[in-house]
Structures are given as C-alpha cells and as structure tokens.
C-alpha cells in the first residue's frame, strides 16, 4: 500500500499521548518550536508528563504553557530560568517542589538524545566534570581526560517542526530550525512533525535532512515559523 504519513488534523495522534509519557519538544531561540502541536497537546491535557526540551521557560515556545497548565511532572532541559526578576510559572512550581528539574549541559543534552536514537546506552563525556551538574554521576579518566558517564535519553513522543515534508515522512528544515529535531525524532517511539508544507511527490534526496524512517505523522500548518 502506498505510504502516506500525512494527517489532516493532529488531534487524534496527539490524543494518544498518555499520562506519564516522556515528550521531546524541538526548538531553540525562536526557531523550530512545534507550537501548532503544542497547542493541541495543551488542550488534550495529559498529566504527569516528562518534558525533554532545550528550555522550560522560553517565551516563544509553548512548552511553558504545558507547565503552566500543570501537566508536567519533570523537565530535562539546559535552561530553566525565567526572564526578569520575578519567578516564572516554572520557577514557582520548582520552588514549591511540584515539578522536578534535571538541568543538563547543552552538548551532553544533544548527545544523550542522539545516543538514545543510535542504540548507544551510555557514553563518557568530558563536559560537566567537576561541576554540580555531574554530582552523583560515575566518573572516569580516559587517556588523561576526566569524564562523566552520561546515559542515553529516550522518549515516547517527539514533537518537532520542519519546513517541508513528503508523504513518506522525509523532512526538510529551514536553516537553524533543525537544532534538536533530528536527534529527538530518532530517540522517540513516535515522532509527529508539523511542517509548513507537506507534498505529494518525494522530496529530492538532497533536501532530506531527516529520513522518513524516523517520522510517523506529518501535518502541514501553512505557518512560516
């Protein structure tokens, strides 16, 4: 049967996100946030989610709206500081002990997700050695370099944003929209991609940044970002 991963509405696939699921959300600095999908996820209101995203507090990403809606039990992030002196909703919940925080150096964060998708259960990284973010982690000196043992991160659902997709699920990204999306798509059981445009014919191989095998569902939003 001809493969076609395009969907008309995302409500049904998002509704499969269960209480307690581990969700990865792409995006960095205003580029690559799957905000169309996050709106639907917020309305679906699963509870006790673990969120894996670069930032828990980025104003352009609707990741923070899931936290504000008290849907999140734990975040794994590289940034969790709200702008300004007032506490952000995340920081308030964190202070109150109602949300758990795992703060990870961004390179270890990206590599742990990549490892999760690549079948590498753990690796040694020099990053973070001797810092508070390596507290309790196993260390080892390899070829004279002090390293920390870092475990892979995997997830149940990846929500990512691309520019173009084809019916096979191949994804093309616009410049820095890429950031964490390819790694996250490899590391999750189910990947849902929102894109500006989803086409019938196959993307040229030279335009494919994320191979179809990593993508389960594609929805076109028409949005530029």
């Amino acid at each position: 049967m001809a493969i076609d991963k395009r969907i008309e509405t995302a409500k049904e696939v998002i509704s499969k996100i269960f209480d307690g699921a581990v969700i990865m959300v792409s995006g960095f600095g205003g580029a690559g946030f799957p905000n169309f999908l996050l709106e639907i996820l917020r309305d679906a209101e699963p509870k006790e989610l673990t969120l894996v995203a670069n930032s828990a507090t980025h104003p352009y990403s609707l990741t923070h709206s899931l936290i504000e809606a008290k849907m999140v039990r734990k975040v794994i992030v590289t940034a969790a500081r709200g702008r300004g002196k007032e506490l952000s909703p995340f920081e308030e919940q964190w202070r109150d002990g109602s949300i758990e925080l795992e703060c990870v150096p961004q390179g270890n964060f990206a590599e742990r997700i990549r490892a999760g998708g690549a079948g590498i259960p753990a690796f040694y990284s020099p990053t973070g050695y001797g810092t508070d973010l390596a507290t309790g982690k196993e260390t080892r000196k390899i070829n004279g370099k002090n390293c920390v043992l870092e475990e892979a991160i995997t997830g149940d659902f990846a929500l990512i944003r691309g520019d173009r997709a084809d019916r096979f699920g191949n994804i093309n990204f616009n410049t820095t929209q890429m950031n964490f999306a390819p790694a996250m798509a490899t590391a999750c059981e189910v990947t849902i991609a929102e894109v500006r445009e989803a086409i019938d014919e196959a993307l040229p191989t030279t335009d494919v940044h994320l191979p179809s095998v990593y993508v389960n569902h594609v929805i076109a939003t028409g949005r530029e970002v």
Binding site: A31, T78, E91, T127, N174
Partner: protein, 225 residues
C-alpha cells in the same frame, strides 16, 4: 585612560583573534566582539545552535525568522557558511574544532576554573546552555568581565565561590582594567590601565597576580561608547 567600557573590552579581545580562526561568542558582552574583528582577518563565528559562519544581524530586508543565533537574534549567514543540527554542533565544539570561545564570567580561579552559569539567585532556575561544553571543548577559552563586582569584590580568586562551569579551562581574561593570562605561574597581567599601579591591581585581586615583564598599557579607541 578610564576603565574600558563594554564595547572597548570587546574591541580589545577582538584584536587578539588570529586570522582564519573559528570562534564561538557567548551571550552578553562576548557577542559584541563580532563588531570589532579587524577587517584583514577572515574569521568564522560558530553558533552552537547549528551555524558555522554567522553573518551580521538581519535587517527588515533580509530577515528569515528561522535563522537565529544562540542568543535568539535573527541573523544572516556569511559567505562559506554551513548549517547542522545541535548534536553535530556540539560534536564540533566538544571535539576540539573551535579555536576560541569567549565567555562571560562571574569568577575565574588562579588554576583557570570558570564560574559563569549560576549566580545563585534564590529560586531562579538554572541556565547552563552550552557554556560547560564550550569551556571544555574549545582549544582556547577566553573570558570577558568587569575586573571586580559592583560592590568591589574580586572576581580573580584562589578558588571560585560560585558553582563551576569547568575546571582549568580559562586561558585569558579581558576586563575593564587589565588583560590577564592564566598560567602555571598564576595570573599574569599582560596589559594594565596606565592609571592603575601594580599594588592597586593586587588589592583588587584575591589571588596572587604579577605583571608580565613586558606588560603594556591597556588601550582602546576612545570613540567606542
């Protein structure tokens, strides 16, 4: 000459970037360095969200909302630029392919330890981003900072008080009153504001600091404001 302002510190650091180098500039003061790289030098700026060859900030005319740098600024690409995902970007950083990273700093210890990511403001969330990876991965780590805190406390210390970013990583420190090398013989000022004596520098430094035998006056164009 008065103590250097932020742009003058950035100018001073920019003069030391060798032709052909690949440089990653941290958030805050370091990103100003890009404005002052001498025109006879061809330098590639790396941005950890996935750019090698960041160009000038975008204007209304050439803005691409998906093309941002690590500071969330809308940017352009320079000639010869390339793009990649976050896992590959940090492979580039961790793998030692960045010549210099210039980072902001709260504190630097005499052995080169860096504290720049957690200022311990009560209840504010942490923000580590790529700092730990950059400090460990770049061939050289420079910092830019005010020589002393607002209340006059030293930032060049025997041991850092704030949480560490990385151990033994800082090679050079650019400040408003001195340029300081971190060496096996401790801190050595290689440039010092003419109005400041060695004795005064010492009182403003917790750790031992000496003047290089060929220590020069710290200078910067007066018209940079």
């Amino acid at each position: 000459m008065k103590p250097l302002n932020r742009n003058q510190i950035a100018w001073r650091a920019a003069q030391d970037i060798p032709d052909g180098n690949v440089v990653n500039l941290g958030l805050g003061m370091p990103v100003l360095v890009s404005n002052y790289i001498p025109s006879d030098r061809d330098v590639f700026l790396q941005s950890e969200n996935g750019i090698l060859g960041v160009g000038p900030e975008a204007s209304e005319l050439n803005i691409n909302p998906n093309l941002v740098d690590a500071g969330s600024r809308k940017v352009t690409l320079r000639d010869g630029a390339s793009l990649f995902d976050s896992a590959n970007s940090f492979a580039m950083i961790r793998g030692g392919h960045i010549d210099i990273t210039i980072l902001g700093a709260f504190e630097v210890s005499i052995s080169g330890d860096l504290a720049n990511w957690d200022s311990k403001i009560p209840d504010k969330g942490p923000l580590v981003g790529g700092a730990m990876d950059l400090a460990v991965g770049a061939k050289s780590t420079w910092t830019m900072m005010q020589y002393n805190t607002k209340d006059g406390s030293p930032r060049l210390l025997n041991y850092c008080n704030l949480p560490l970013t990385a151990r033994k990583c800082v090679n050079r420190i650019y400040t408003d009153i001195a340029v300081v090398d971190v060496t096996n013989q401790g801190f050595i000022a290689i440039e010092l504001l003419e109005s400041i004596t060695a004795e005064e520098l010492n009182t403003r430094t917790e750790a031992e600091i000496s003047l290089a035998s060929d220590c020069k006056p710290l200078q910067a164009p007066a018209d940079l404001i």
